[in-house]
């Protein structure tokens, strides 16, 4: 259960908001981080924590596409398909996924590693085409870079090429 596992974090989230209900989305994120998706049990638990009814939690969870209600692969590739990325070739990126991993949007590879979603604008139009893997951005994708991302993810679970997400202006580079 979330409550035992993340007691401190839940308390700090709850203390952030004057109205309890406002903590709903952060808690749903927490649940998603825990399991990779928001399960029914988690939604019921969050309802109990916030003194909402389960349908009220469910309504929020289904509204936001960033919250997965079904199990997804270990790496959730979210390729932006909005106009700017599409102009820069996001359809090609989806094509690469299809040829290299054999999955279309909404599908998961047989080994359960990758799930592809075609999503709407991720607010990185300047560096299109881009994709988001779990919570990291990979921008200015070329086939070579894309291959490297996939290989690194498979091998290390992370990749050096990740670039964000950043708020504008860019944060100062970490001091060495």
């Amino acid at each position: 259960m979330l409550k035992e596992k993340y007691k401190d974090e839940i308390d700090s989230i709850l203390s952030r908001y004057p109205v309890k209900r406002s903590a709903l989305i952060p808690l749903l994120y927490l649940a998603q981080r825990d399991e990779g998706f928001v399960s029914e049990a988690a939604m019921k638990e969050i309802a109990g924590l916030l003194r909402l009814t389960p349908p009220q939690v469910y309504e929020t969870a289904t509204f936001y596409t960033m919250l997965n209600l079904k199990r997804v692969g270990k790496f959730h590739l979210q390729v932006c398909k909005s106009l700017m990325c599409a102009l820069a070739g996001s359809d090609t990126v989806i094509g690469w996924v299809k040829t290299k991993l054999g999955i279309g949007p909404g599908e998961t590879t047989a080994d359960g590693l990758f799930t592809l979603s075609a999503v709407e604008c991720l607010a990185a139009c300047g560096t299109a085409p881009m994709m988001q893997v779990n919570e990291d951005y990979y921008e200015r994708l070329t086939e070579e870079r894309f291959d490297r991302v996939l290989a690194d993810l498979k091998r290390d679970g992370t990749c050096q090429l990740k670039t964000g997400p950043f708020m504008w202006p860019l944060p100062a580079p970490p001091a060495r």
Partner: protein, 888 residues
């Protein structure tokens, strides 16, 4: 009364000038001048949401079209609803709404009464939509409420109703954009209060009742406005029938005391009348078995036996019991029959099970037998004190008034209740309360005493009363000084600070209403607790103030009527004392005969007298003492000894099975008359169907028996009896749409503060015995379920779908202690017997208590003991200490 603003604004709608109170919405103002602006999402009960965009109107000096459902009327506003621009806007919005609508009117139950259908006709909307419509896959089917989201127009009325009015929040719009659908939770069927509000409020056929699905078309139905029989709230329902078949119940917005809101019992419980096991022919016991007979045979038998017994043993060898589900006319005729034709005061009604406590307390202190407040006062109250009401389940519509007061008007809700705050599928009043004391029913008295002590010690006593009745105030003060905070804390688990805080909230209110419910009225010592509550109001000066009062809630629909009609042993029609000479003369003048003077026996006394062989004949109308009292009382044996037991019944109950004659009675769906609801509002009952089989209304049966006995009480219709009631109680039942409650009788209050309080003050102001709870036991309580009412509703197929049987409901902590989980079999036992049932873990049950619904408690009854109130003779048999054991 409601404080209405007198400030008005003037505006014109389509050139028609009108002045409306400030704050009125344009759509409402338009309705007043007879302009109907089409709408889906607007509903007078709900806050404006303006999501359907159907009600666009043109307002002068505003650049864009405005939604009339969310625009407030302002001074000098000029609204136009009939221009081409507006018409085009309506038409285009309708085209959007219809785009994804399946247009399956022919198979939709709403067809014929559908807003979307009507507007489509009005605007002859044609669609240019040639794409494939969106289709929601159906995942599940709810037991009683059918959702067909393809038809949904996403007006969210159901969601808002569920939240704003019912406070259940069981529905939510799920998904986004055009794929929004109304769902409960995930792929689970709807699990909620089943109030049917969403069905009623849905403007299209997206949410329909499954109970009568596809069986009718609106134009085939005949309607009858009548009153629901499932609790004391007296909701007006419209029963719709098709060829003598009960099809549907609904309630029109604004109609009756409930203003269109219903609970599961009212909305889905109507099938009780058409249950196949109804008794449809008179039955006479011949050679030990009940066999069918004709009405003539049965009536002749009853009359002959009655006359024989009366001749042999005198009139006091008879007794009579009647249920509070009968109409006022029947209750009146019953007591007239018993008092006049038979000649005894041995008569009682189901008000004796608890409602009498509240009424007698009111008569004692404030001199009225009715509330001095109305539902409107509850809505307008700023402090509400609920003691042992479990209001959302026992009296759901009064509960709605409380919810409205809290949610819409910001009233302070104080509750003393054996319930824990918990989010659940059924609304829980303690979730809304500002301050909640969770105490066991046996300690309600202690909690009230704690409040009194806090009032006295914090000097919250009203100065007027201390001046007027210093002796009384002194006596009460001294009495509460005897109690220690320590004892109170031990009994109730509530600290002095909490008591003081609640007392402060109570005293600070301007309009204070105290409600007492069944949990209180049927628990031991409740007459005294009611008096203490009245003391509390009196001391804080809230008894006589405007909009303040004490309101005991009736369990059965006409318990209040039973008291007012004199269908209890000690009271005459008008709830006057049997010994009141003026009343006796007045009644004797109408009846043209004298009334018996000897004090009558009450329910338990009658059973005892039958046991002792003093009572030889008993008339039982719809009452079931064998089934509803614990076997310890020996009702079965006592009734077995009778020479004549006549039952007028709908079903062959445990009592009817012992009867010598069973006469088939008509249910409330089949007869005319009036019901008096818990607040004393008299409403008309109208027949929706003809009596089933050979059954007859109870008053007709009584009248016929009296004719056969040679002392006719003849009436040709129920209205004639009402006329006679009005002769006895002037003006009865002609209260009009909004009743004016009686005022507190100053003389009676004076009598009470000078004299009346003395007789039992010391007994009332002692703490109840502390509940001993040995290890391995729980306090088992019989409770009222939201989905049932008495035993009658267990014949209703709709309600049985929601709650088919009883469960032992237990707190999770207790359940863990006994190693129980939902669905486990559990054996309850104590010195009196044992009983096996299924457990259900339920987090609203307080620790140490366990609940079992009264409606299925037949086998559980033997665990209970029965104590009889010394003053009001009410049998208390709702709690018992039992040990719990898991079995297989």
């Amino acid at each position: 009364m409601a404080t209405t603003t007198t400030e008005t604004v003037r505006l014109t709608i389509d050139g028609i000038p009108i002045s409306v109170p400030k704050g009125t919405l344009v759509i409402e103002a338009a309705r007043r001048v007879g302009v109907m602006v089409p709408h889906f999402c607007y509903h007078p009960k709900l806050k404006p949401d303006a999501n359907c965009r159907m009600c666009l109107v043109e307002v002068e000096k505003m650049p864009k079209l405005q939604t009339s459902c969310s625009t407030l009327a302002t001074e000098g506003m000029a609204v136009r609803t009939a221009t081409t621009v507006v018409h085009d806007a309506h038409k285009s919005v309708l085209e959007f709404i219809l785009a994804n609508h399946p247009l399956d009117c022919p198979v939709c139950d709403q067809g014929g009464k559908c807003d979307l259908q009507d507007f489509s006709h009005e605007y002859t909307a044609t669609s240019r939509f040639i794409e494939t419509k969106r289709i929601f896959q159906k995942e599940y089917f709810s037991p009683l409420i059918e959702t067909q989201m393809n038809r949904c127009v996403q007006c969210l009325r159901c969601v808002r109703y569920c939240d704003e009015v019912m406070d259940v929040k069981a529905l939510a719009p799920v998904g986004r954009g055009t794929m929004t659908e109304i769902k409960s939770f995930g792929a689970h069927p709807l699990d909620c209060e089943f109030c049917g509000g969403c069905v009623q409020i849905c403007p299209v056929g997206a949410i329909t009742s499954r109970l009568s699905m596809y069986e009718y078309r609106p134009w085939m139905l005949k309607r009858a406005d009548t009153v629901c029989t499932f609790c004391g709230d007296g909701c007006q329902i419209t029963v719709q029938t098709k060829d003598q078949e009960l099809i549907e119940v609904n309630s029109a917005q604004g109609a009756g005391r409930n203003s269109g809101d219903l609970c599961a019992r009212g909305f889905f419980g109507f099938h009780a009348a058409s249950h196949p096991s109804r008794v449809t022919h008179p039955l006479i016991r011949r050679n030990g078995v009940l066999v069918e007979a004709t009405w003539e045979e049965a009536l002749e038998f009853v009359a002959e036996q009655t006359n024989r017994l009366k001749l042999a043993h005198g009139p006091h060898a008879f007794g009579g019991l009647i249920t509070g589900r009968c109409t006022n006319e029947e209750l009146y005729l019953f007591q007239k029959f018993m008092r006049l034709t038979i000649g005894t005061n041995n008569l009682d009604s189901s008000a004796r099970y608890g409602h009498v406590n509240g009424v007698q307390a009111m008569r004692m202190v404030q001199g009225t037998h009715r509330w001095t407040v109305t539902f409107e006062d509850i809505v307008q109250a700023d402090v509400l004190l609920l003691v042992g009401t479990n209001i959302t389940e026992a009296n759901p519509i009064t509960g709605l008034k409380v919810k409205e007061a809290v949610k819409k008007h910001g009233a302070t809700l104080l509750t003393i209740e054996a319930i824990q705050a918990a989010v659940g599928t059924i609304s829980n009043i303690s979730n809304l309360s500002e301050q909640h004391f969770c105490v066991a029913p046996s300690q309600f008295g202690a909690a009230v005493l704690g409040l009194l002590k806090a009032v006295v010690e914090s000097n919250y006593v009203d100065s007027a009363i201390s001046q007027r009745a210093s002796d009384y105030v002194l006596a009460v003060s001294q009495a509460v000084q005897q109690l220690t905070w320590n004892d109170l804390a031990l009994d109730t688990g509530i600290s002095r600070e909490s008591f003081v805080q609640m007392a402060a909230a109570l005293t600070g209110g301007r309009r204070v209403v105290a409600l007492a419910g069944q949990t209180l009225l049927r628990s031991q010592g409740s007459y005294g607790i009611c008096l203490n509550l009245l003391d509390l109001l009196l001391l804080t000066g809230k008894l006589t103030a405007q909009g303040c009062g004490f309101a005991p809630l009736a369990e059965e629909n006409n318990d209040q009527g039973a008291v007012e009609m004199g269908a209890v042993a000690a009271l005459l029609p008008g709830a006057l004392d049997l010994t009141d000479q003026d009343a006796r003369t007045q009644i004797a003048r109408v009846w043209k005969e004298d009334l018996p003077l000897a004090a009558g026996a009450t329910l338990i006394e009658m059973i005892d007298r039958a046991q002792a062989g003093i009572i030889k004949g008993l008339f039982v109308i719809g009452e079931n003492p064998v089934g509803s009292l614990p076997p310890q009382i020996g009702a079965k044996e006592a009734l077995g000894k009778l020479d004549l037991l006549v039952c007028q019944e709908l079903f062959l109950t445990e009592t009817a099975e012992l009867a010598h004659v069973v006469l088939p009675a008509a249910s409330a769906m089949e007869k005319a008359g009036t019901f008096t609801n818990t607040e004393g509002h008299v409403q008309a009952v109208r027949p929706a169907i003809d009596p089933v089989g050979d059954s007859r209304p109870d008053w007709e049966i009584l009248s016929a028996i009296s004719v056969f006995m040679g002392a006719p009480l003849e009436y040709s219709e129920a209205k004639e009896i009402l006329k006679e009631i009005r002769a006895v109680i002037p003006g009865y039942g002609s209260l009009g749409p909004s009743p004016i409650p009686p005022a507190v009788d100053r003389v009676a209050v004076d009598r009470y503060v000078n004299e009346g309080y003395r007789q039992d003050l010391t007994t009332r102001y002692t703490l109840p015995a502390r509940a001993m709870r040995p290890e391995g036991t729980v306090q088992l309580g019989l409770v009222q379920s939201l989905f049932h009412s008495g035993k009658l509703s267990t014949h209703s197929k709709g309600l049985l779908q929601i709650e088919p049987s009883g469960f032992l409901q237990m707190n999770p902590v207790d359940a863990a202690r006994f190693g129980l989980e939902t669905g486990d079999r559990v054996r309850l036992s104590n010195g009196r017997g044992e009983f096996t049932t299924t457990a259900k873990v339920f987090d609203r049950v307080p620790e140490g208590l366990a609940w079992f619904p009264d409606h299925f408690a037949q086998a559980a009854l033997r665990l209970f003991d029965c104590a009889v109130d010394p003053d009001t003779k009410v049998p208390y048999c709702r709690t018992a200490s039992v040990s719990v054991m898991k079995t297989t």
